[in-house]
Amino acid sequence: MAPAPVLLSKRALIDRSYLEHRAKLLDLAAFLDRVERAQGDGADDFRMRALRECCAMLIDTKPNRAQRVLELLSDQSREPIAHAGTKGATGAVPPTASGAR
């Protein structure tokens, strides 16, 4: 089966969802401000660096932004790791990981 088309027009999609995404953008802007205002270490946190790189990706003109953001935030290595030192994930690739860029 062929992929389903986007059924709503550009204008209809914008009318329906602009305010929702304006709010998400403001949340992100306020989060960046909040981290900047906060005391202590973390200004160079790998997750914040990754987030800024992703922000730059959002305003380029290439398609598939969601896929490219996910790939940017992913471990790119292909081999299994020796041991799982933790159960959790952080949402960006720690600089010590085998698949760090």
Binding site: L7, S74, I81, A84
Partner: protein, 266 residues
């Protein structure tokens, strides 16, 4: 009417069963998963498997929902292979239960060698008993790497038909490789991680609706047991037909799960 093919009702209240029934849920499948802590003995899984095969079907039946399950030790507890093999040895005694559809949710969490060893042991068990398989893929930054390792393990096992294996929690960067290799794929609708209902509908629009389903994977973390009907609402608002909505939220899970010979919606 819908099926939620992946939800952890042991972590949810009876009110959730009622709300799901009111929203049109007629059947669910519940894979075995991590309780939020490591069990202290394999016997803890004996009790958990009894809960999945005996207690939950009765709770669900009070609201007219058919409950089915998948059994395994999940990859988060696979880093101790001796322990994990002991748990796997418990599974065959539950396979005669009519509500057991197969082995799941197995897979990888951090993509470690021990996790792969336990994944392979589960795959052998599934092949030996001709069972279907439900696969968990890793979280966040570990997700991209997981499906390739998992699909390679399944191919190397040699006896499992990809058409009877569903690889769950796909997102934009993993859905294509799973579908290309002939597997079924599942999208989990979560508030913060995995897919939102809006992105899941985007993925249907970009990849089509064949061999794809949606689920809530509701559990003890941030999750929404009504995520599937919310995705139905999103599809409707975006102009998708009732036939398309039914296909992804009822017909597709029915087609995949019916291969077990045990799945029922009434």
């Amino acid at each position: 009417m819908y099926i939620d093919p992946h939800i952890h009702m042991v972590s949810r209240t009876t009110d959730d069963y009622q709300r799901m029934a009111l929203a049109g849920c007629v059947a669910i499948t519940e894979p075995a998963f991590w309780a939020g802590y490591d069990r202290s003995s394999p016997q803890g899984f004996q009790d958990y498997f009894r809960q999945l095969t005996d207690t939950e079907p009765k709770r669900a039946a009070q609201y007219g929902i058919r409950h089915h399950t998948w059994l395994c030790i999940n990859p988060k507890e696979a880093e101790d292979p001796v322990f994990a093999h002991e748990v796997i040895a418990l599974i065959p005694s539950f396979l005669a239960c009519e509500s057991v559809l197969g082995i799941g949710e197995i897979g990888l969490n951090k993509n470690s060698r021990n996790e792969i060893e336990i994944l392979e042991a589960h795959l052998e068990l599934a092949a030996k008993h001709d069972l279907m398989v439900l696969v968990h893929t890793p979280h966040l930054e570990d997700k991209l790497k997981g499906p390739r390792l998992i699909m390679d393990a399944i191919r190397n096992q040699g006896k499992l038909d990809p058409g009877r294996v569903l690889i769950d929690h796909v997102e934009e960067h993993t859905v294509g490789i799973v579908l290309e290799r002939g597997f079924w794929a599942g999208m989990t609708l979560y508030p913060d991680t995995k897919c939102t209902p809006q992105r899941a509908v985007d993925i249907f629009e970009m990849h089509g609706t064949e061999r794809l389903w949606i689920n809530s994977a509701g559990d003890w973390g941030q999750s929404d047991p009504l995520a599937v009907p919310k995705a139905q609402l999103e599809m409707r608002a975006r102009g998708h037909t009732e036939a398309s909505i039914r296909k992804v939220s009822f017909d597709n899970p029915l087609a995949f799960l019916s291969q077990s010979g045990r799945f029922k919606t009434a």
